[in-house]
C-alpha cells in the first residue's frame, strides 16, 4: 500500500464524509481504487449469501485466500449487495474455513486483553466473542482482564514500567498521539499491510484516522464515538408548549427561540430549563462545550498536522461569546446551571425528570436513556449550527473515542493483532457494540437487525456520516484542561470572552510549541 495513495484516499474520504455521501458511496469509491499486491487469487468454492430478494447488483469485490501461518486455509469472500435505495446496503463477510490437516498441535498462546467496558452486565464477552474467536484461532486463548476506567492509564503505565504489559489494551483515541509520540504503543501498519486491510473500506471516515499519529496507524476504532456531540430534546415538553415535537432546532437562532419557549419561570426562579448551552457530556465538561460548539459555528480547532491553533479567530470568539450570552439569556446566569455540572450527572437526571428540555450528549446516551428512563419520549439529531456564519453547516466533530492497540513491550504481537482485528474490524465489534446498542465504527454493522428494535436508531445513524475527525494533538488532555478552566473562569464572571479566547489560544500554543520543540 503506497503512502501516497493512502493519503489521497484518506483526504478524499474526508471530503466525501463531509459532503454527507452515504457509507455506501464511500465503500464503493474506496473499493474501486483497490489493487492489493499480496492477495493470491485461486479458484475455490465460494458461498454467496444474498440477503434479500430485491433487484440487486452483486459485485464480488475480491476473493482472497491467505496462508495463515497455521494449519488452515481461510477463504474469505466479500459480497457487496447493492439495493436500489442507496441507504440500505447490506455488506456481509463470509468466512469459510477449510481445515486441511492438522500437522501438529500448536502451542496455545495466551493473549492478555485489558479493557474497561466489560462490566458485570456484559456477558457477550464470555458467551459470544471469546468463543467465536477461539473457534477461528484454536491456538489462541484470550484472557480478559477488566480494569477501571478512572485508573486505566495508571495501570497501563505501571505495567509498562514494570515490563509486564498486556497484549491488547483499550485506549481512548484522544490519548493515542500522546502514547505514540513517546513510543508507548506499537505501530500497526505492518500488520494492516500484511492482512491487506483497507481501513477506509472498513471504518467510518471520521473514525479510523483518529488512531493514527504522523500517518502511522496505532489503534483501530471500536465504536463510533464520533458523534460525541448530538442534540437531544424532550418531545413531550415540545408538545406541551406548542412546538412541533418532531422539529428540533437546526440553527442557533431556532435553538434560542425554542429554549426560551420551553423555559418555565415561577416567582423569579427557573423551574424548568430549556437548555444548558455549555453543559455537555455528563456535565463538568466545559472543555467539551468549546470544542462541541466550535464546529457547528463553522470553525476548526487545529491544523491538519496538529501543530498549530486554528480556533483563535472570529468564529472562536463568536462561539465563546455566544455561550456566555446564552447562559445569561436562558438560565439567568451561571449560578443556576453550575449545580448540574457535577460528577453524578445531575443534568441527565434533570432531563429524565422533564426539568431540562434539550441537551447535548454523545451517541452512548441512547442506550443510557433507554435504561435509566424508559418512558421518556426524546428525539435525536445533529447539533444546531450558527446561521449567522454563511460557512457554517450542520456537522459534528470527533476527537475522541475508544480504540484498541498494543502497548510497548507486549509479548504476543501476532496473536494480539488477530484479536485486535477481530475486536475492531471483525465480528467481535458487532457482538460487543450491538449488545450495548451503541453504533459501531464499522458502517455495515450498524445495519444489523440487532439494532432494529430501537425506534430512534435511524435518526441516530443518519447523523454518523456528518462526523469529521478533528486532528488530535499529543498534548490533548492538557489542552482540554486549559479549555475547561478558561471557560469556567469566564462563566463565573472572572474574565471577559475576549480574554478567555486569548488565554485559551495562548496556553494551547505554548503547550504545543513546548511539545514539538522537545521532539
Amino acid at each position: 500500500m503506497g503512502k501516497n495513495s493512502h493519503m489521497t484516499r484518506r483526504r478524499l474520504l474526508r471530503i466525501a464524509g463531509g459532503l454527507g455521501i452515504s457509507a455506501a458511496g464511500a465503500a464503493a469509491l474506496a473499493a474501486c481504487g483497490e489493487a492489493e499486491p499480496q492477495i493470491v487469487t485461486k479458484e475455490v468454492p465460494v458461498e454467496k449469501i444474498v440477503v434479500k430478494e430485491v433487484p440487486v447488483e452483486t459485485v464480488v469485490t475480491k476473493t482472497e485466500i491467505k496462508e495463515v501461518p497455521v494449519e488452515r486455509i481461510v477463504t474469505q469472500e466479500k459480497v457487496v449487495t447493492k439495493e436500489v435505495p442507496v441507504d440500505r446496503v447490506v455488506t456481509r463477510e463470509v468466512v469459510k474455513e477449510v481445515v486441511k490437516e492438522v500437522p501438529a498441535m500448536r502451542e496455545t498462546v495466551k493473549v492478555r486483553w485489558q479493557e474497561v467496558w466489560a462490566d458485570a452486565f456484559q456477558p457477550t464477552i464470555e458467551e459470544k466473542m471469546i468463543p467465536g474467536f477461539e473457534a477461528q484461532f484454536p491456538y489462541i486463548e484470550i484472557v480478559n482482564e477488566r480494569i477501571e476506567e478512572a485508573q486505566m492509564y495508571e495501570i497501563y503505565l505501571t505495567q509498562i514500567a514494570g515490563g509486564d504489559p498486556p497484549d491488547v489494551i483499550q485506549i481512548q483515541e484522544s490519548r493515542v498521539p500522546q502514547f505514540a509520540a513517546r513510543g508507548g504503543i506499537i505501530p500497526l501498519d505492518a500488520f494492516i499491510g500484511k492482512a491487506g486491510l483497507n481501513l477506509a473500506d472498513i471504518f467510518y471516515a471520521g473514525e479510523w484516522p483518529k488512531g493514527s499519529w504522523l500517518d502511522v496507524q496505532y489503534t483501530l476504532p471500536l465504536d463510533n464515538t464520533g458523534a460525541w456531540y448530538l442534540f437531544w430534546w424532550n418531545k413531550d415538553t415540545f408538545e406541551e408548549v406548542g412546538l412541533d415535537p418532531d422539529t428540533p432546532p437546526t440553527t442557533w437562532t431556532e435553538l434560542e427561540e425554542m429554549a426560551l419557549k420551553t423555559t418555565v419561570r415561577e416567582g423569579g426562579e427557573i423551574t424548568r430549563h430549556g437548555m444548558f448551552v455549555p453543559e455537555m457530556i455528563k456535565g463538568a465538561r466545559t472543555d467539551a462545550s468549546f470544542k462541541g460548539w466550535q464546529f457547528p459555528a463553522g470553525g476548526h480547532m487545529f491544523t491538519e498536522d496538529a501543530k498549530s491553533v486554528l480556533f483563535d479567530d472570529a468564529i472562536g470568539q463568536r462561539n465563546v461569546t455566544w455561550q456566555l450570552d446564552m447562559v445569561q439569556k436562558l438560565n439567568d446566569g451561571w449560578d443556576n446551571i453550575q449545580g448540574y455540572m457535577d460528577a453524578v450527572g445531575a443534568s441527565r437526571t434533570a432531563f429524565y425528570n422533564g426539568l431540562l428540555t434539550m441537551r447535548v450528549e454523545g451517541v452512548w446516551f441512547l442506550g443510557v436513556m433507554r435504561r435509566d428512563a424508559p418512558d421518556i419520549n426524546a428525539g435525536v439529531t445533529h447539533m444546531p449550527y450558527d446561521d449567522t456564519n454563511p460557512n457554517a453547516r450542520p456537522r459534528s466533530i470527533s476527537d475522541d473515542g475508544w480504540s484498541y492497540g498494543m502497548p510497548k513491550g507486549a509479548q504476543n504481537l501476532e496473536e494480539g493483532w488477530e484479536w485486535l482485528r477481530y475486536l475492531t474490524a471483525g465480528e467481535g465489534n458487532l457482538a460487543f457494540m450491538g449488545n450495548l446498542k451503541r453504533p459501531s465504527s464499522v458502517p455495515k454493522y450498524n445495519d444489523d437487525p440487532l439494532y432494529q428494535s430501537e425506534p430512534l436508531w435511524n435518526d441516530l445513524k443518519s447523523v454518523l456520516p456528518l462526523v469529521e475527525a478533528s486532528p488530535i494533538t499529543p498534548v490533548n488532555p492538557d489542552i482540554d484542561q486549559v479549555l475547561k478552566d478558561e471557560m469556567e473562569l469566564m462563566m463565573a464572571g472572572k474574565q471577559s470572552p475576549e480574554e478567555t479566547l486569548a488565554s485559551m489560544a495562548g496556553q494551547t500554543r505554548e503547550l504545543l510549541d513546548e511539545f514539538f520543540a522537545s521532539l
Partner: protein
C-alpha cells in the same frame, strides 16, 4: 546471664533493635527503594514510557518559579487540613466520650458510628455527592424544599466545595478517631477519677484535668495521622469535583496525579511528591518537637 557484662542502657538498646528489626528489614526491602526512586526521578525528565533523562534542578525550578497551580493546590490542601484535622480531633473525642459507657445498646450505637468508615470511600463519595447535590440533592430536598432553609451549594460553590469535602471526610472517617480515643480512654486508670472525686472535682474538671492529659498521646496521634493523611487527600476530590469549581478543590495530590497520568510528566510529579514528602516530614517533626511539652507520657525523667 549476660546482664553483668552489659550496662543497663546497652542491654536496652540491643533489645530495642531486636524489637524494631522486622520493620528495619521491611523498610529496606519494600519502602526504601521506592522512596529513593521517587526522589531520584524528581531530578529527571521521565514519562514512564521512555527512559528518564537527567534534568538537574529543572523540575524544582519550574515548580517554584513558573507554576501557579502548585501554589494554588498547596494552599487548597493547607486550608483543607486546617478545617479537617480539628474537626476530627474534637468530634472524635466527644463521640468516644459519649459512647464510652456500659449502658444497654451503647454497643449498637458505637457500631452505627463506625459503619460509615466501613463503606468503601468511592461508594461513600457517590452517596454524598447525591446528598449534597446543590440542585437535586437530598439535603436540599430536606432543608430547602420542605423547610425553606437555604442550603449551601456544597460541591459547586467556590467557597463551599472544601467544607463539602470536609463534611464527607469527617463522616466517613470519624469512626477511626472514635476507636482510637475509645482505646485510649481504657488506659485511664479509674483510681485517678476516684482521687479526683474525693478532691471534689465535677465531670468537667475530671475531663479537663484527668482524661485529656491522659489521652493526650492519642490526641497527638490523631493530629499527626490527620495531617499526614489529609495532606494526601485524593479520592474524594477525584470522584466528586475533579478539582473544580475554579480549582477550589485542586488538592496537591490531585494536581500531582494530573501531572503524572494526564500529562505524562512523571519526573515533574516525582519532584512534587518529593516536596510534599518534605513538607509533611517537617510538619511531623515539628509536631513531635512541640508535643514534648504538651503530651503526657508515662516515662521516667531522664
Amino acid at each position: 546471664m549476660r546482664a553483668p557484662r552489659w550496662t543497663i542502657g546497652r542491654r536496652e538498646a540491643v533489645w530495642g533493635f531486636v524489637f524494631i528489626a522486622p520493620w528495619i528489614l521491611g523498610f529496606v526491602i519494600f519502602s526504601l527503594g521506592p522512596t529513593v526512586a521517587i526522589i531520584a526521578w524528581g531530578f529527571t525528565e521521565y514519562d514512564i514510557l521512555q527512559a528518564p533523562t537527567f534534568a538537574g534542578l529543572e523540575n524544582f525550578i519550574e515548580i517554584f518559579t513558573d507554576d501557579e497551580k502548585f501554589l494554588k493546590s498547596l494552599v487548597n490542601t493547607a486550608i483543607y487540613v486546617g478545617l479537617l484535622v480539628p474537626c476530627q480531633v474534637v468530634i472524635g473525642f466527644l463521640l468516644a466520650v459519649l459512647v464510652n459507657t456500659k449502658l444497654p445498646l451503647a454497643s449498637l450505637f458505637r457500631a452505627f458510628y463506625f459503619l460509615p468508615t466501613i463503606m468503601p470511600l468511592v461508594v461513600a463519595s457517590i452517596v454524598w455527592a447525591w446528598v449534597l447535590q446543590p440542585e437535586l440533592g437530598l439535603l436540599k430536598f430536606l432543608l430547602e424544599d420542605t423547610m425553606g432553609i437555604p442550603t449551601p451549594r456544597f460541591m459547586v460553590d467556590e467557597y463551599w466545595s472544601k467544607p463539602g469535602i470536609v463534611i464527607l471526610t469527617v463522616w466517613s472517617s470519624i469512626g477511626v478517631q472514635m476507636i482510637l480515643f475509645l482505646a485510649a480512654l481504657q488506659a485511664v486508670p479509674p483510681h485517678l477519677y476516684e482521687a479526683a472525686e474525693i478532691d471534689g472535682a465535677g465531670p468537667l474538671r475530671k475531663l479537663l484535668h484527668v482524661t485529656i492529659p491522659l489521652v493526650s498521646p492519642t490526641i497527638f496521634l490523631v493530629i499527626i495521622i490527620g495531617i499526614i493523611n489529609s495532606f494526601q487527600v485524593f479520592t474524594t476530590a477525584f470522584v466528586l469535583t475533579q478539582g473544580g469549581p475554579l480549582d477550589s478543590t485542586l488538592f496537591y495530590v490531585l494536581y500531582l496525579w494530573r501531572k503524572a497520568f494526564v500529562s505524562f510528566e512523571f519526573g515533574y510529579a516525582s519532584a512534587l511528591a518529593t516536596i510534599l514528602f518534605f513538607i509533611i516530614m517537617l510538619l511531623t517533626a515539628l509536631s513531635f518537637w512541640v508535643s514534648r511539652r504538651l503530651v503526657h507520657y508515662e516515662q521516667p525523667e531522664s
